[in-house]
Amino acid sequence: MAIRERLSGNEAVAYAIKQVNPDVMPAFPITPSTEIPQYVANYIANGEIDTEFIHVESEHSAMSATVGASAAGARAVTATSSCGMALMWEELYVAASNRLPIVLALVNRALSGPININADHSDSMGARDSGWIQIYAESNQEVYDNYIQAFPIAEDTRVHLPVMVCQDGFITSHGVENILLVEDDKVKNFVGEYEPEHYLLNATEKMALGPYAVSNYYMETKRAQRQAMINAREVILEVADKFEKMTGRRYSFFEQYQMEDADYAVVIIGSAAGTCKAAIDEIRNTTGKKAGLIKIRVFRPFPEVEIAKALSKVKAVAVMDRSEMFSATSGPLGAEVRAAMYQEHGTADVVNYFYGLGGRDITVSDFEAVYEKLETLARTHVVTDMYEYIGLRSARPEEV
């Protein structure tokens, strides 16, 4: 029987770490992910797990030590947020290109400046090209489930890539919700013993890692990483199937909510999906208008064809970004979803909005307004507010 609990997102991840019992966890405190290493340190202090904690002096060293530990043959994990991951940036690429199956618990928080500790996807979206698999969660249950699934995905020989398990800062990480925990033995069995094929501490086969590889080899390295990311698609689905058999909870690249007959769709990532679902229920109940939602779970690899297919019958789409990329046009999700739709000859009208930067609230009525705009857009085919910031005080600095 699953264990009923009430946990915050951070507690849920820490609990999953306890169940997985990884070998090494180097970590550095940063709000809002700090609690994860704190809980793990407590498990260690009380002899509940064998994990060795490395009290690194920075996040750069956290990821550097995680790379070292993983290369050595250990199952290695870390956790961070925001500027912490920005400091790891260089190492994110090293971890991915060395094909190390590291699992990083990322608690999404806005990047500075101004310094801001609240939820926003600028940290992970900025790292979207680093070669990591990225899995996002709406709720504590999802982040817990994703965390457990991350290990068999990362460690699959077809993949061998690091995985970033993302949750929204404070909203998910500190919000306490009901959760169903999987029994310890089932989790242990699900993730299995980590048995790397090649590692530094293998007494029978030496290994050299991190070569100088210039123009005659570099491209092949990148192509191999690309292939691993392509392969990750099937592995993510296989692991999700296995997880469903164990728990009854179904996961895929994204969740479709009321999309069977939807005319108007929102595409979104993370905790705001819950608010959007409430708006959809309200709209459908009161007006009968066919609102739907696609909540992206897997952003890397990007499920291009699947998303385009899921949006092929709707009239209008609002792609909603919780981070800027300062192209002076779209946000990262907006760019990729629209590219996917174009590639698959999608016919829906599309608008791209920004919301929730630096933790700004988005409400049910905000989403209701988005669906109203989509209805107008579908009728007029005229986009009037592309790239609008939802809930902005003013676009003019002097009025703020």
Binding site: S64, K206, A208, G210, Y217
Partner: protein
């Protein structure tokens, strides 16, 4: 674990753990440092060698060839300390879990750029945490891999590509950072500063102590660079001798907080003897710069006295 006798022939006939065929320059001090330190590993002991980005890394592990006979990891420029601390921690936990049977030693090499400067924080963290590893700085006194830019290990007045001697410049303004002393202040069990003596006994025995003393150890090895310093490659051993005989590069060790001076020249030579053969100090021998050599000497004398006091 220190051997009571040092047999040069015996030590030199140990199998090389850095294979020939790497692409380091002729007369490179860094390569000599690596070979000497690795020679101090007991035959049969396994090791994981770490390496900060630098000349050594790009010349000894060019895909698909590695010069290392042991397992090896290069990660980035500024994190050799943290990276090897991850490897070492993995070793302990995997050994505890019974997944690894053999004994491994952990040695990482970084140039002065990767150690004194960009990798300083990572090094300090790894030493403070007390990982059972040796960090070896092959100190050639500048960023040699990128073409002799000034580092905090560069001696005062050195002509580098970012502190060029010019009409209104006499080279680097500041004196070099005393990294071995800073590492000793971490209160780690072993710190040694060395360079190449005629029979390599000093460096070899310090490497042995560093490797086989449990806990964190740091070795600072002056490793001359013929291209950056501007001397004939065949002169490397003479340059080292002049460095220690002028007291520019004192040989000392700090064992459990106890400072020991390993070499005191019978005849302390004037600093000019060390400076003159090197192109990087050529400008100091112009008439208008005469007083700078005096200042250099004053600094050397001051630091030498300070060191002797610590070692008493």
């Amino acid at each position: 674990m220190e051997k009571t006798t040092y047999n040069f022939k015996e030590v030199m006939s140990k199998p090389e753990r850095l294979a020939p065929g790497h692409r380091m320059c002729a007369g490179c001090g860094g390569t000599i440092t690596v070979r000497t330190v690795l020679r101090a590993l007991e035959e049969g002991d396994k090791a994981v060698i770490g390496n900060a980005t630098g000349c050594l890394e790009v010349s000894s592990f060019m895909y698909p060839y590695t010069a290392y006979e042991d397992s090896y990891i290069h990660n980035a420029f500024e994190n050799a300390g943290a990276t090897l601390s991850g490897v070492e921690t993995a070793y302990h936990v995997l050994k505890k879990k019974g997944k690894i049977k053999d004994n491994f030693k952990f040695i990482t090499f970084g140039g002065d750029g990767g150690t004194y400067d960009i990798g300083f924080q990572s090094l300090s963290g790894a030493m403070e945490r007390g990982h059972d590893m040796v960090y070896v700085c092959y100190d050639n006194g500048a960023y040699m891999n990128t073409g002799t830019q000034r580092s905090s290990a560069t001696p005062q007045y050195a002509d580098t590509t970012t502190t060029p001697a010019g009409k209104v410049s006499a080279g680097k303004v500041q004196i070099r950072k005393d990294l071995a002393a800073i590492m000793a202040e971490h209160h780690i069990p072993y710190v040694g500063q060395s360079t190449f003596t005629s029979n390599f006994k000093d460096l070899y025995t310090k490497a042995q102590k560093a490797i086989y003393t449990p806990g964190a150890a740091f070795l600072n090895v002056m490793s001359p660079c013929p291209r950056g310093w501007g001397y004939e490659p065949s002169e490397v051993m003479n340059i080292c001798k002049l460095a220690v005989d002028t007291c520019y590069w004192p040989m000392f060790e700090v064992i459990e907080g106890r400072w020991i001076l390993n070499y005191e020249p019978k005849n302390k030579l004037p600093i000019e003897e060390f400076l003159r053969p090197q192109r990087r100090f050529k400008h100091l021998f112009k008439k208008e710069n005469e007083e700078l050599i005096g200042k250099f000497q004053e600094e050397i004398d001051k630091q030498w006295e300070e060191l002797k006091n610590k070692c008493n």
